[in-house]
């Protein structure tokens, strides 16, 4: 399965093999650890140089946990993580400075990730001092050019985070990440809180930086409309389980994993009012995922009784580099999910373009 996902033209740099993560707290009194279901369960993928892999899924699907594990902020319970020749299973404080420099993470909320008592200039200068040993005087010029790179006026260096808008703060967070000259950027819902014009500015900015530097990105989001145009490849995560991986063009076209199909249907169609609510609410998500069978079985409209709840679904390669983890065969998925409204919608769009 891992080999399949890596069969892209680009040489992969980040390798995640069979990663599992678990949040478990020892009981307050007994000290016993209760067995919680893993937040990330046997996830494998790779990100190539200069490539953008989008990781999509609902809140609680384990997207952020994966990013935090790669950044060394959360321990992996099992699995192998490598970046180039570096082992990523080490926590961030035990990683070599070079590795810490190469992988940078940007969080959703810049209000929480920027120190509000520091001026923007000193926020951006910190990685310059840390990784390149630049003095304050030397870093001034570099800070100015980083501010220019994220299209902020250079006099913003003197301001405090509270004195600028949310979109501008997110650009400061990006400038700080870029100051380390990373080769892999972990972007955790970085545009979700911003309004559309600020979103467009930031996406365009990241794209132009990527074109210049061959930066790799793990782009975590729940906004499929952004993924559709911004990513090279996409991995769909459902409650800690990967269910579909492939190039964006493939994943956004039939056959779909039943969950991907559901996610795509949930994206609003711009300019079309819905006159009816969806076909009843999907069955309520139970608080813990099933321990056997397919993680998505309880919500799946195409579940095969007696199979999906008991047996782990196999990975099926449906096209080069495109894999779906489902008991249903590609031809069945094509027939069942390909007719879904979204499939038709995207194909019409594709036909109009060509």
């Amino acid at each position: 399965m891992t080999a399949m996902i890596r069969s892209t033209a680009i040489v992969p740099q980040l390798h995640i093999d069979n990663l599992s993560c678990r949040y478990e707290r020892p009981h307050l009194f007994s000290g016993r650890r209760n067995k919680t279901p893993p937040a990330v369960d046997d996830v494998s993928f790779a990100v190539g140089a200069g490539e953008t892999l989008a990781l999509v899924g609902e809140s609680g699907s384990g997207k952020s946990t994966i990013a935090r594990t790669i950044a060394g902020l959360f321990p992996a319970a099992a699995g192998r993580l490598r970046y180039g020749g570096h082992d990523l299973t080490l926590p961030v404080e035990r990683r070599a400075a070079e590795l810490r420099r190469l992988i940078q993470i940007i969080f959703q909320n810049p209000d929480a990730s920027l120190n509000r008592r520091h001026r923007i200039g000193s926020i951006i200068a910190r990685p310059l001092r840390l990784f390149f040993g630049l003095s304050d005087a030397d870093s001034r010029q570099e800070v100015a050019s980083l501010l220019e790179a994220v299209r902020l006026p250079t006099d913003y260096a003197e301001r405090f985070p509270s004195e600028i808008s949310g979109g501008e703060r997110q650009r400061v967070a990006i400038a700080r990440a870029l100051a380390a000259r990373p080769s892999l950027l972990l972007c955790d819902e970085i545009v979700s809180a911003l309004d559309v014009s600020a979103q467009a500015t930031i996406l365009e900015l990241l794209r132009s930086i990527q074109t210049q530097t061959r930066l790799s990105m793990l782009f975590i989001t729940h906004d499929l409309a952004v993924v559709r145009w911004f990513a090279d490849r996409v991995a769909v995560l459902y409650r800690g389980h990967l269910c579909e991986v492939g190039p964006v063009e493939r994943v956004f076209a039939p056959p779909y994993h039943p969950y991907t199909s559901l996610l795509l249907e949930a994206v609003p169609v711009f300019g079309r009012r819905r006159e009816a609510a969806g076909d009843a609410a999907s069955p309520a998500v139970t608080s813990s995922p099933p321990t056997t069978g397919c993680a998505f079985a309880s919500q799946c409209r195409h579940r095969i009784d007696g199979l999906c709840r008991s047996a782990e679904p196999p990975w099926r390669q449906v096209a080069p580099g495109h894999a779906i983890r489902c008991h249903l065969e590609a031809s069945d998925l094509n027939r069942i999910t390909g007719r879904a409204a979204t499939g038709a919608r995207l194909q019409v769009a594709a036909a109009q373009k060509s």
Binding site: A200, Q210, R273, A284
Partner: protein, 287 residues
Amino acid sequence: MTAAAHDLMTVASLTVDYRQQGQWHSVIRDLSLAVRRGEILGLAGESGCGKSTLASVLLGERRGERRLRAGSVQFDGIDLSTLRARELRRLRGVRLALVPQNGGASLTPTLRIGSLFAETLRAHRPHMNKAELAAEARRQLSQVGLPDPTGALARFPHQFSGGQQQRIALALALCRMPDLLILDEPTTGQDAMTRRGIIDLLIRLRLSSRMSMLYVSHDLATLSEICDRIAIMHAGEIVEIGQMEDVLLRPRHPYTRALVASIPRLEAPPDPALLPASRRTPERITA
């Protein structure tokens, strides 16, 4: 029908100022707007354009650092500025309701969900006994798609995720069956499935009741799914208002056009500069 008869809430030539470091700055300028009976009106604009201030003024909220310099806000013929605090509270509790932007923060952290509902429901349905109150709360919670409503009643707000807190806040507003529901960014930051659930619920309400809604959001795609009309706000003014299809598909104001153009859409490719290098050649989809 006269304007007054089919308008539930009317804002006429409203100017609102905020005081900052001793100086008054206007954040809403000469704004006129009406929410019609039974309609869902979308109010869109970027952060800082005054949307949330307008929502707060429509609720009759009064704050020291803010003043209504000119104009009026009328709800069903009642000028909100003439009401005493107690009358305003009664109006807000029964006929006017708000789901605030950060719904979770509006839930009293020390009260269990069951008590929050009991408090709200008792004000509106004084005849209900304990069992009826609990049953009604469960009904409302399952209506907003919260898993395990019975268990939820015994839990505290912090035991729910942000999206669930938002839905609880919505359920609390809905159990009053207000004439006008003001929703301030109810789906922002929520993932696609949660957003779908909230939108489905609002559509069902729209079909089954005559509740009017003012839906404040910067997410034009979501607004287009449920709104009858849309108003676009920019720098404290309404720059364009009309039927949803007219405003979003045939925008006339340059600001609306720019806003519409910047929306990421599943169907339509954006500026080619946004595409990754590997995808700048024409895309071919083989089914």
